[in-house]
């Protein structure tokens, strides 16, 4: 498939960003929002997302010189891989995970009407957070970032077919976790 002019421009930016601060600044502008959004989906809290986004881009600025990729796709996958690593590192601390769960639980309370519970973002997040970090990444990349299996495979270093099968299993698990969260919420009502 032929590349569009815009894609060629961005490929050129990726190559120039190794030596030119201006090119790096433009790449940052292109990807800041995307990475911030990914961090919000993984961390729920905007403050935590800002911290992790900062860590991601500072890591990019320090190691872009040795980045071996040549295209926009390579750069995007690399960026997501760093963001995944950093969000997992953030969530590794149990105290932080508990804090995020409390935060999500606090946002859930005023969403219940007449003993029926409507699924909202805090509830879904609480259920996602119960999954393994790798599964959380797959769910986020697939449904929140709308990436295909091949792209996800490149980010998490797995084959597209493996991602597809894993996602199928993860959705089953997520359904169970979600049911637990909803049941807990009904009891609170």
């Amino acid at each position: 498939m032929a590349k569009t002019d815009n894609q060629i421009d961005i490929d050129d930016l990726v190559l120039r960003a190794r030596t030119e601060a201006d090119a790096l600044g433009r790449l940052y502008e292109l990807y800041y929002e995307r990475i911030f959004r990914f961090c919000v989906y993984r961390l729920f809290s905007k403050d935590a997302a800002e911290d992790v986004t900062s860590t991601v881009f500072l890591a990019v600025a320090k190691s872009i010189r040795t980045f071996p990729g040549r295209t926009e796709e390579d750069f995007r996958n690399w960026l997501y891989a760093i963001a995944t690593k950093q969000t997992n590192a953030y969530l590794r601390k149990t105290s932080r995970r508990n804090q995020l769960l409390q935060c999500a639980a606090a946002s859930m309370t005023d969403n219940c009407t007449d003993h029926s519970v409507e699924l909202d973002w805090p509830m879904l997040y609480a259920a996602i957070l119960k999954l393994k970090p790798k599964y959380q990444t797959i769910i986020t990349l697939r449904f929140f970032e709308n990436l295909d299996f091949e792209q996800i495979g490149k980010i998490i270093n797995a084959r597209p077919s493996t991602v597809r099968v894993t996602l199928h299993r993860v959705l089953k698990k997520l359904r169970t976790h979600l049911q637990t969260v909803i049941d807990g919420e009904k009891q609170n009502v």
Binding site: L24, G25, Y32, R37, E50, S54, L58, A61, K62, L167
Partner: protein, 138 residues
């Protein structure tokens, strides 16, 4: 609850998630990354380039350990390299010629050391006197 992948996709698209970034943070971070990038452009010192690579770091550590080892060996050489002088075995000429002393010298340096020890003992005793008084002989 969702039934399949498409169903879940629909639920996610309907969620109300506050993911709007803060412009102040965006600007501040931009300055920080550009500063970090330009810091990385400055030429590295030799020590920085050694520390950066794990192989050179290991080599530097090995060189330091070898240097310290050589220094210590030079300051206090091991037993084998020492000179087996007779003075280490015995100090008085009479004691140098005893069976125990010569055996010890033989163990430390073989026949050469024994000969040296005997020579030294005789040197220390001085030349033999020609006239020995009768009382001394008795």
């Amino acid at each position: 609850m969702f039934k399949n992948e498409n169903d879940f996709k629909k639920i996610v698209s309907q969620l109300n998630i506050d993911n709007k970034p803060n412009d102040a943070h965006r600007e501040n971070l931009r300055r920080k990354i550009l500063s970090a990038f330009s810091k990385g452009q400055q030429p590295k010192t030799t020590w920085q380039s050694i520390i950066k690579n794990p192989i050179t770091k290991l080599a530097a550590a090995a060189v330091i350990i070898i240097a310290v080892g050589l220094f210590l060996v030079h300051r206090s050489p091991p037993e084998q390299t020492r000179d087996h002088s007779t003075t280490e075995v015995a100090k008085a000429p009479a004691k140098m010629l005893t069976l125990g002393s010569t055996t010890m010298a033989y163990r430390r340096g073989g026949m050469d050391a024994v000969e040296k020890q005997i020579e030294k003992a005789f040197t220390m005793l001085g030349p033999r006197t020609t006239n020995i008084p009768f009382e001394d002989l008795i």
